[in-house]
């Protein structure tokens, strides 16, 4: 498996690397099939593992026909709670902020459908698969609790990852009392499952007390420690390789039962073991987005300015752990209101535990908020864009802090211009096309936080004038291999071709989490700082060396460019990196850097990416079939390192939003709790024919506070705004306000 990415032809580059729309460097490997994904690894003597999963959602496994499974030719071992050695940590305890309780055969209890109840190991995948069938489990079944009205309501301690469930600012009662108009409305969003193209997979191999795992992972170094803890070994003993992920969307950031079981089995049997989840097992133990029911009250004055904004969300979680989709938090930072009040409730149902799924909370909350705002605009009789402008937040509504940068007004203006929003009739059901189909236009605002985590990186200048840069970043398809290398090359004043970029394995400096849309900002800052550090050290040597043309320039008196240090005031004085190192007898010179945000900056300013999404839909007036014909998004997300990759991320987000609005829904049988559409024939996501002409405009934004590079994130924001824009366009086309996602044909045939 390559640690670095060879690529076939030189990239054409103009000036600095950053800002250039380089094609992803791993694209060639991927389209030729040469990229090794976890399940592509076949170490010698490999055993195949298949998880047997429960078909009930609550109860106990009474018996398993282990003998029958073991008698099947090729089956080597069956692991059940009866023979599964305990883990070093209790999987029913919480371990750390990102630690979720999971099922790894610790007992015979069943708490959701598709929960692991045994692991079958065999010489072939087919034998292991048949082995699971032969187990013919017998259960003691308790009735499943599925759906908001059948689950157990409770008040959650936290929402999202460690967030507070409730928030109040201003005087809600006063704001409500002052209202000229009040919209009181309720929206529902369904359970959704991540379903990355590459299902979770792992190949685990032990050598004494050291463990090598090939598994797609969004938080490589962090996960190394988490895995190690469950097996009672030091983190250094785990070598985790994750050069490529076939999508993650949050579900590959969190440790789950199946992977732990595979590692467990490899240790028990002292052989390498491979486990790749079949598609249907993506609908149980590896997280999902919980369903939400959201009530919003929007009080406005006669002109449509909010006097109070209240957002209550109830979300589903499992019976044994807590992840509450923080949907109501979507109302904290977007629209100015003197009073904002948000609450979260929870309902325990018999499904696996939800987890962060691309734009957790922001997506589902925006889906409701943007429609509620549209309802308010319609009630008052003003244009939806005007409504948003009247409620434009000049400072962060939740904290009153200034924004680090906010070019949302430009997003509205340029997005509207590009889309041709002007002249949109106020009333619904006014526009038709030549074929008599209803046409509607809708819009939504997009918002996503610009967080930073912690990361480290190393940059090594080499005697030949090239450099090695290293950080354990995760490329989920978003383009980390490319964008991070661009940043690293710039920080070193080198052409990208001269920089060897190592990433994707746990023996490298911690690249942080590919999540929260903060990876490029965090790992990128670490790389930038590492490169800057290496250059500073090099400059230190040069300016103090009488033999150097740069002697006496002073550290600040030189700059790095094209593989040389240059005297700032005298273009005739410069020296190549290799020459400086050679003269001082050094083989190489190492710099290091970290990425993270100064807590003082984080306290002082509110940091968000913003955007505006405009949608056109056509709806057949009799048959209710919807086609989104145009989507225009305009996004301001700080400095864009690679516009091509950034646009792809935004497109992906917008398509996800379309999927949310019109397609995705996991349906669990109300009696058994089993998902009835646990495959991609039944769990719909859009196909090409559903994807409209799409544009993502990148709006300039110079943010001096977010981080040294001015980078925010683009990975998740595209979903927000889009869901509501489409739903609002459907209302505008038909006059029907659908308050439950996904919007279906029967909602529109009246």
């Amino acid at each position: 498996m390559p640690d670095t990415i060879p690529f076939p032809s030189a990239q054409v580059r103009f000036g600095s690397s950053s800002g250039q729309p380089l094609t992803r460097r791993d694209g060639f490997l991927k389209v030729t099939g040469a990229a090794t994904f976890a399940a592509d690894n076949h170490p010698e003597n490999l055993l195949h593992a298949v998880v047997a999963v429960s078909t009930i959602a609550r109860g106990r496994v009474v018996s398993l026909d282990v003998e029958a499974a073991k008698a099947h030719p090729g089956v080597v071992e069956v692991i059940t709670p009866a023979n599964c050695p305990p883990l070093a940590l209790d999987p029913d305890e919480k371990h750390g902020l990102f630690g979720f309780r999971f099922d790894a055969l610790q007992n015979d209890r069943v708490r959701y459908a598709k929960q692991p109840i045994a692991l079958v190991l065999a010489e072939t995948l087919e034998a292991a698969t048949e082995g699971t069938r032969l187990l013919a489990p017998v259960y003691e079944t308790e009735p499943a609790r599925i759906g908001f009205d059948n689950g157990e309501p409770y008040a959650p301690a936290t929402v999202g990852v460690g967030g507070a469930p409730d928030f109040d600012r201003g005087d809600l009662a006063a704001g409500l009392a002052a209202a000229a108009h009040l919209v009181d409305t309720e929206y529902e969003t369904p359970a959704q499952y991540h379903n990355a193209m590459e299902p979770h997979a792992i190949v685990a191999e032990w050598d004494g007390d050291t463990l090598t795992i090939d598994t797609p992972n969004q938080a490589i170094v962090l996960s190394r420690a988490a895995y190690a803890a469950f097996f009672g070994i030091p983190p250094e003993n785990v070598y985790l390789r994750s050069p490529f992920l076939g999508g993650g969307f949050g579900s590959k950031a969190i440790l789950a039962g199946p992977q732990i079981l595979c590692i467990r089995a490899a240790r028990m049997l002292q052989r390498p073991v491979k486990l790749a989840l079949p598609r249907d097992q993506m609908f149980g133990p590896v997280g999902h987005r919980g369903a939400t029911r959201q009530r919003l009250r929007l009080a406005t004055d006669a002109e449509g300015r909010l006097t109070a904004l209240e957002h209550h969300a109830v979300a589903t979680t499992s019976s044994f752990d807590e992840f509450i989709e923080p949907a109501a938090n979507a109302s904290h930072n977007l629209y100015a209101s003197p009073a904002i009040s948000t609450r979260h409730g929870a309902v325990r149902v018999d499904t696996g535990t939800p987890g962060p799924m691309r734009a957790p909370g922001e997506a589902s909350g925006s889906a409701a908020l943007e429609c509620a705002l549209d309802e308010a605009a319609a009630a008052i009789g003003i244009d939806p864009l005007e409504m948003r402008l009247r409620n434009y937040a000049e400072t962060d509504p939740a904290t009153g802090r200034p924004f680090s940068a906010k070019a949302l007004r430009e997003c509205y203006a340029q997005g509207a211009e590009r889309f041709g929003w002007a002249g949109r009739p106020l009333a619904p059901r006014q526009m038709t096309d030549d074929a008599g189909r209803l046409v509607g236009w809708g819009m939504g605002s997009a918002l996503f936080p610009a967080p930073m985590f912690q990361a480290e990186a190393r940059a090594t200048l080499r005697a030949d004038g090239t450099a090695l840069v290293e950080t354990a970043a995760a490329d989920m398809g978003q383009g980390a291999w490319t964008a991070l290398a661009q940043i690293a090359a710039d920080s070193l004043g080198l052409d990208i071709e001269q920089v060897e970029f190592r990433s994707g394995t746990s023996d490298l400096p911690d690249g942080g989490v590919a999540g929260g849309s903060g990876h490029t900002a965090t790992a990128g800052s670490a790389l930038h700082n590492a490169g800057t550090d290496a250059i500073a050290k090099l400059a230190e040597i040069a300016v103090n060396d009488p033999a150097s043309p740069l002697f006496g320039a002073g550290n600040a008196g030189v700059e790095a460019r094209e593989g040389r240090l240059w005297h700032r005031e005298d273009e005739t004085r410069s020296e190549g990196y290799g020459d400086i190192l050679a003269r001082s007898g050094m083989e190489s010179l190492e710099g290091s850097g970290t990425g993270g945000r100064d807590p003082a900056d984080a306290e002082a300013r509110a940091m968000f990416s913003h955007g505006a999404v405009f949608a056109e839909v056509k709806v057949d007036p009799d048959l209710g079939q919807v086609l989104v014909t145009r989507l225009v998004g305009a996004f301001a997300a700080g400095r864009i390192i690679n516009p091509k990759l950034a646009r792809s991320q935004l497109y992906g987000g917008m398509i996800w939003g379309l999927s949310f609005a019109l397609h995705e829904e996991a349906i669990h049988d109300r009696r058994t709790g089993r998902p009835v559409n646990a495959d991609l024939a039944g769990y719909h996501i859009p196909v090409h024919a559903d994807i409209p002409a799409m544009e993502a405009l990148l709006i300039d934004e110079d943010d001096r506070y977010v981080n040294v590079l001015g980078i925010k994130g683009v990975g998740e924001i595209g979903i927000t705004g889009t869901v509501g824009a489409i739903a609002n366009a459907i209302w505008h086309a038909t006059g029907v306000r659908v308050r439950r996602y996904p919007i279906r044909i029967e909602d529109l045939i009246g």
Binding site: P73, D620, D622, H663, I745, I749
Partner: protein
């Protein structure tokens, strides 16, 4: 997947002999069979591979008129066979509206006819299903049944036949040719499928070992070629089964309808021929009102089998629209989005 024997017979006679023992299944494109084997819903002891049987992959124009299509012709090949598409454009359109390009390349004519219902409980061996396990019960009755039947169902089974291809075939009186241990027989496709009644496990008249060898489309079917359409309502623009679909065809002379054909998909355990509607249209003017009356008649006996009452009204509207489209004339070429209400909105023709 269970262990099974695999045989690859060299002739139809050998295939029939091999498949006549209980527990055998014919393997054609495998796109439906293997999926159900993977979930454990089907556990055949023997697969009889018919993919290399000689002579079953031909599309022939018959001397007495009409066409004969071998059971192993792939869905994509049939849809793109120029003579076939010209004579039976609605059939080609239906074929191209089904599944995905990859699946259509693999799926066969015989397999498409014999594909099982998409009722989720049939595919899930942990559920009870009268089709899979006669007498066990029907989990769909009180379960997720939003897409289930509104015509011809019984309390024993409310599933629908999912094929698109078969809908215009039934409208055009296609005949199935069968070879079996008892010899050869044939029958109209419409009669080939059985409604569930008390014995939903009998989905078709096919008896043990019987093999579909081909299909015939009668010459009269081509008389509708100037005005025949297939219209399919689905939950995404492509790659989804029909929620409701209709094949509608007309012969119009001097402003009045001579003959009409109508079959519906996604509403019953078999493609649903609506002869009462056809009769109403004879001699009528090809107007929206006439078609709406025909639609009323077609759905006169419909009743919801669960959370699917909307399908009845939807089906009426689909019928009306399909007739309007048929009356407007068959398009020059199959639209880029076959059978879609948005066929004219995107893309260019793929079928010159």
């Amino acid at each position: 997947m269970n262990l099974f024997d695999y045989v690859r017979p060299a002739s139809v006679a050998e295939a029939v002999a091999a498949a006549s023992k209980p527990g055998a299944a014919y393997f054609a494109g495998g796109t439906n069979l293997l999926d159900l084997m993977k979930t454990g819903a089907l556990t055949p002891g023997k697969l009889v591979d018919i993919t290399r049987l000689p002579g079953l992959d031909r599309i022939e124009t018959l001397s007495e008129g009409g066409m004969r299509i071998g059971a192993m012709v792939r869905n994509a090949d049939l849809a793109r066979a120029p003579d076939f598409a010209a004579a039976y454009p609605a059939v080609a359109e239906a074929l191209l509206s089904g599944a995905s390009a990859q699946l259509r390349n693999a799926a066969t004519v015989g397999g498409n006819l014999m594909q099982r219902t998409r009722c989720a409980y049939l595919a899930d061996p942990a559920s009870v299903c009268n089709r899979r396990d006669p007498g066990a019960g029907c989990d769909a009755l009180e379960g997720e049944n939003r897409t289930h039947a509104v015509l011809g169902w019984s309390d024993a089974c409310i599933a629908t036949h999912p094929s698109d291809f078969c809908v215009p075939l039934v409208a055009f009186d296609a005949v199935v040719e069968i070879e079996g241990p008892e010899g050869r027989r044939e029958m109209p496709l419409e009669e080939f499928y059985l409604l569930p009644g008390e014995t939903p496990e009998h989905e078709s008249v096919l008896a043990g070992g019987e093999l579909i060898t081909g299909l015939r489309l009668p010459p009269e079917a081509a008389d509708f070629r100037a005005r025949s359409r297939y219209l399919k309502l689905r939950e995404r623009t492509s790659f989804a089964f029909a929620l409701v679909s209709a094949a509608a065809a007309l012969q119009i002379e001097d402003g009045t309808i001579g003959k009409a054909r109508l079959a519906l998909g996604g509403v019953a355990a078999r493609p649903w021929r609506a002869r009462s509607a056809e009769a109403l249209l004879r001699g009528a003017e090809p107007t929206a009102e006439s078609f709406a009356r025909a639609a009323e008649a077609a759905l006169a006996d419909a009743k919801p089998s669960g959370d699917n009452a909307f399908k009845i009204e939807l089906a009426r509207r689909v019928v009306t629209r399909a007739f309007l489209l048929a009356a407007a004339g068959t398009p020059e070429s199959v639209p880029a989005l076959p059978a879609s209400v948005f066929s004219s909105d995107t893309g260019v023709s793929i079928h010159a």
